[in-house]
Symmetry: C2
Subunit: 754 residues, 2 copies
């Protein structure tokens, strides 16, 4: 399909405002009479609270409120209500260093900080456990009032793996370890709550949520008030990566402080708080076993995950579940077994993080596939091509693959990376490695419901407001939504104003996560634009006295095919307005539900509306003396379905690759007795400009039958295979297999020497 | 029609927030990096600007920008573009004390004020003219580069009045004078402008406009930028009364200061600025002549208006035109002649003010009708009943009267006021007087276009957002809109969140003025609610497996007639969401256009979609020594069509009556050489609590065929007849006819003594 706006590298519509610093983030906001809140957090990993003395803090001038557990509802919370285990403030026990114990609201931040220092908590320390394997032992201290520390367990079985392994000619098995890592958003977690007076007063919350509508439910749920009383407003976002998906306790804390003081209350994490108490990616210990026939066909695979939940559930179960889906779908293996366990520890919680359980398992699986290739004496690329998924295929685990560019991604990246030549070259301490990925390209249908809706409103001058719940975290979602509307309405993106920030205004939506925005919201925007276009054409048809079917919208003009007279969209809107007394608008919805009546196992496999594939190839050089790995070049071939905006897609991929390199080689939280000691950007090593290699991005277009203009989401996929590709390249360079992340100089040196 | 929410005295939905001070007005807002603007205004009523020296002001620390005429576009502006005569800042000449000459933006208000003091303007004073009659003389100084000071002239002729007057048995004629009065909103005029960087950067303006969408056009027009670049956001409003309808120059001034400084800029009128430079009600000198047959039938009427435009046009022509419509329609008089002239003077501008040219003319006409009654020896009530308009009647001037409660209003107020008894009693210095009114009950179709639109969005929990452009200035429009939606959806108003503040979000609308909100927006909201209801019923029909026609929405429940099972709206929304993958919404439009192809004269008479009638009766007591008039009781019978909310309707009427009493007896701007010297609430006398009599409001229901639930607007009508009713009561009390407002003690004493 020939397009005018779709496929163009349109710059982000908010780029000037962000580049000039004019963009207003929530942290920049100041409401009249606003107070500043601070949270007293536990400095014990595990302890009983004997008592809290708030008298001195309350007496401090400028302090408006001090709250402890007895001032807040004792409802429990997690992303899934049936997993709820965390209260707003700890009543009798703290479970990690950072757990919320009390909070204050004061006239300024200094006073609030001083008030925290005046709070006296009498703790009785309890034995703590930090390693999930330790926590599973019967002797381990129990973190919750439950029988054991295993919070959640998931099992999947397809085919007969036990029998199948016996039929294999080659089997590899091993343990692979990844640890918790933080999201490191440039914008720290923060909120402003304003609770209007009166029993039914609206609670308005400014918080940069990736899912304002579900956060509205969460806030209502934990506070025990009707959802309709809660309104969530998003400002400009400075990164999300999953960290801003599930409600943070500072939101209900700010709300209660606001209700108590009758004033708006703002709470902003310090960077140290962000590092040491905010949620992280889940750390996984993964046992994988892969069996193949002698020709290289993968025949059976088994995975056992022990995941570090941290002290509370948050998004743990969903993550573990998603891991199993991607594990089972990457290659079409007839026999699959998966067991995952999410285990409580006395550490900060895990949550969603770009890739959502997939990078951990992919590191394991795609590392092991190279081990298997070595065993088989096959080129890793050949092995993967042999086992690649095909379009229009139902895998043995039941995943319905529609469009699929897995083979094309491998071929394109091999070409771009010079795979064959470089594998042959066999230079000492210089290697090339690869890894594949599969990820959802359209979210997941976890709720039964999976829909999106959008409104389009033309003003009297034909200018367009697009009301969508697609959230822009910096990835450019608003730009892509504007492109979709602009394409359909035959205008440019600067004619479109995107409104997307307010649960009272924008339609209900699951939020921007799980690579669902382009696919789901994009389809809804497309539907709304088509509806508006129909109205425009209807009026233009009356105006020009031609059949609706003859009318075209293009380059900001409305005209009949073959006719000389062309009208601007403004003129048509003006005609509608002044001659027909009407405004033009559109309303669109896209639904992609799970079929009704599915059992859990069936629902599991039909959960993903479309899959996106990809391949990465990393070329590395190793310093034998220091153990340092230098990534020379990274080729990332990502399937986009159809590329809606190459500039933004490449930006996404580059960002993900850099995040993947950090995950592979550097990022490591150092804890002492449960306390993060590298709690700032000076001490926590993540990639800086000098660590970033040449990145070559190849966007592989396949055209998804359900995606808007054929597109699928690629907001997470580029992070998934990077660690394995680098680990495989290290093996290629020096014959050393490191099965634990990060592969930092210390660890690699040890492996080389060992 | 039986209703559950309509007709109930539902409290204003924002009453708690306002009563507790939690409501955030624009003046309360503070944006990051915001600067404070101040405007240097002329202190001459008429002068040439020889030069402006800005060097000292620019050099002052903390000053970020100083602008004069050369920094701003020289586009001219008025409400109607063909009347445009005012630039943003004066280039060569100032035309009234208060005319905008220069502006500054600084870090705080004090610095901005200091900077103003450092601006040196070299003026060459010109002769000034303050009285419209003087200004019409050939010798008068010309205020604009035009042939004369008459800015606009309107003539209307129906029948043959010259001949008809000869056929009359009785004729009264006389001059009646009213002066300019200020609106006295508690919230002064203020704005914040934020112009994003870049050539196409959005200009966002927070300003409490009664017509944000037309203000968007005005701002774009005067700045010479496309409308789509401008976004207007309203906060809570502290009164409008017409003063916040047409753009104030502080808006483009703040915009240009923002563009120049790259920061948001706030400008707030001081109270003194508000009194001495803001726009006012137009002062009218009205000559009226009324002729009747000996039986009391009104046969011919003529009016000549000379109106004080002030220095620029603003809303003058429209006001003059509206006066003629109401003059011609109040009674069905066969022969009518009207001439109006809007004359420039060197005084602050006039603009829209509740009643819009009707109170001035009504004071004249309804005073004169009592003079005629005396001449005829008829009771004023009898005379008015004899000449009353009837329902479903086309008047001689062509006004299409549909519903009409004129007779009922007279009868109801006579009963409530004890008219007959009190007229008979004839106590010395104690009198009762009456006056009738007609006003539009549904706006005017001035633009060809007269439409409104609304959206309704249900969230997944069934909570309702109503997106409407109905503006709440304090009159309770949001509450009434919520009632209309609630009634249709079978819920209570607290289930409805009203969104109404943002041109990028809410549909285009002409604004809240001209008594159009309840009628126009109410109809649009009703249409949107019906659309949403259809969707709800559609889903409920699937859910319950019954015919849609059987389903009822009532008391927050959705159920089939006769069935036992009832579902909450939340349950139905949840079913739609989880079982049908959809959200529920509605979109509604109401159009009431002028028929196409009308000539000016025809358009004139068809301009009003519905008329509202009313009667007031005032009982007064006069102090012969001091000249003071004490209003003992005021009965106001107002036709509501159908009363949607009696509490709010009564509140409107009471507010208007008080404003009418101020207009009748107190309010007077004292000018010296064009400068207002009573420029604060200490010096400007308006009614305070001690001046307010017993007010008895009678709401007369007629059921308008076009109004939502039969309603029409009553936001202005109660102010229209008050002055005449009081003047007639004064005449009844002491036999003295005062034909000039205000009838303050000085003027009355003079009349009594003269």
């Amino acid at each position: 399909m020939k397009t005018k706006v779709i496929g163009k590298g349109v710059p982000k519509i908010d780029s000037v405002a962000k580049a000039t610093g004019e963009a207003t983030y929530t942290v920049d906001m100041k409401l009249p009479r606003m107070l500043y809140g601070k949270i007293l957090r536990s400095d014990h990993p595990h302890a009983k609270i004997r008592s809290i003395d708030i008298s001195q803090a309350e007496a401090l001038e400028g302090v408006h409120a001090v709250i402890t557990a007895k001032d807040v509802p004792q409802n429990k919370f997690a992303f899934f209500q049936w997993q709820a285990d965390k209260t707003i403030l700890c009543e009798d026990k703290v479970r990690y260093v950072g757990d919320e114990v009390a909070a204050v609201a004061a006239v300024d931040e200094d006073t609030a900080t001083k008030a925290l220092e005046l709070l006296v908590v009498d703790y009785e320390p309890l034995p703590a456990v930090f390693d999930p394997a330790e926590a599973m032992k019967p002797s381990a201290p129990l973190i919750h009032d439950k029988e054991k520390n295993v919070a959640f367990r998931v099992e999947r079985l397809f085919g007969d793996p036990d029998k199948a392994f016996k039929e294999c000619d080659h089997i590899c098995e091993g343990d692979y370890v990844t640890d918790k890592v933080p999201h490191c958003c440039l914008e720290v977690s923060n909120t402003i709550a304003k609770w209007d007076p009166g029993p039914d007063g609206y609670l308005t919350i400014w918080v940069n949520s990736q899912a304002p509508h579900t956060q509205r439910q969460e806030v209502a749920r934990i506070l025990g008030i009707p959802r309709r009383q809660v309104r969530i407003i998003n400002s400009v976002m400075g990164g999300g990566f999953g960290s801003k998906l599930v409600m943070d306790m500072k939101v209900p804390i700010a709300a209660i402080l606001s209700r108590k003081t009758g004033r708006p209350v703002k709470i902003v994490n310090s960077r140290s708080e962000e590092f040491s108490t905010a949620k992280t990616r889940y750390g996984y210990r993964v046992y994988v076993k892969t069996g193949a026939k002698k020709d290289g066909r993968l025949w059976a695979r088994e995975m056992r995950v022990v995941a570090d939940n941290g002290a509370y559930n948050d998004k743990g179960p969903a993550t573990l579940n998603f891991s199993s889906m991607m594990f089972a779908t990457l290659y079409n293996i007839p026999h699959i077994k998966y067991e995952g366990m999410m285990v409580y520890t006395n550490k900060q919680m895990g949550t969603a993080f770009r890739g959502f359980g997939n990078p951990q398992c992919s590191f394991a699986c795609e590392s092991q596939l190279d081990e298997l290739a070595a065993r088989l004496g096959m080129d890793p690329l050949e092995l993967r091509l042999l086992n690649a998924n095909q379009p229009d295929q139902v895998t043995s685990c039941g995943s319905e693959i529609t469009s699929c560019g897995m083979r094309e991604c491998m071929e394109a990246s091999a070409k771009a990376a010079g795979w064959k030549e470089k594998r042959k070259a066999r230079r000492r301490l210089h290697g090339i490695g690869m890894a594949n990925l599969v990820h959802t390209g359209g979210g997941g249908r976890f709720y039964g419901y999976n829909s999106a809706e959008a409104f389009i409103k033309l003003a009297e001058d034909g200018s367009v407001s697009l009301i969508t719940s697609a959230l822009d975290m910096g990835q450019g979602a608003h730009t892509v939504m504007a492109q979709i509307a602009a394409e359909e309405l035959g205008v440019t993106t600067d004619a479109i104003q995107v409104i997307s920030n307010d649960t009272a205004v924008t339609p209900y939506d699951l939020g921007s996560w799980g690579s669902r925005t382009t696919f789901m919201n994009g389809n809804a925007v497309l539907a709304a634009a088509r509806d508006a276009k129909k109205e425009i054409i209807g009026v233009a048809s009356e105006m020009m006295e031609v059949e609706p079917g003859q009318i075209v919208l293009e380059d900001g003009m409305v005209f009949a095919r073959g006719a000389k007279d062309k009208y601007t969209l403004t003129e048509v809107a003006d005609y509608a307005f002044n001659k027909r007394g009407r405004l033009l608008s559109g309303k669109g919805q896209y639904t992609n539900m799970l079929p009704p009546g599915l059992g859990i196992a069936e629902a599991f496999v039909k959960n993903i509306p479309t899959f996106a594939f990809g391949t990465q190839m990393a070329e590395v050089e190793i310093d034998e003396e220091t153990g340092e790995v230098k990534v020379l070049k990274l080729v990332s071939a990502n399937e986009t379905g159809r590329t809606l905006n190459a500039t933004l897609a490449e930006g996404q991929v580059e960002g993900m690759v850099v995040q993947g390199i950090g995950y592979a080689l550097m990022e490591k939280m150092v804890l002492e007795n449960g306390k993060v000691i590298n709690d700032g950007f000076l001490d926590f090593k993540m990639p800086n400009i000098g660590d970033i290699p040449e990145i070559e991005t190849v966007l592989v277009e396949t055209h998804d039958p359900e995606g808007p203009f054929g597109a699928k989401g690629i907001g997470e996929s580029g992070l998934v295979p990077t660690a394995a590709a680098i680990a495989n390249a290290i093996y290629d360079a020096c014959g050393v297999r490191v099965r634990e992340l990060p592969i930092d100089p210390e660890r690699l040196l040890e492996a080389i020497r060992g």
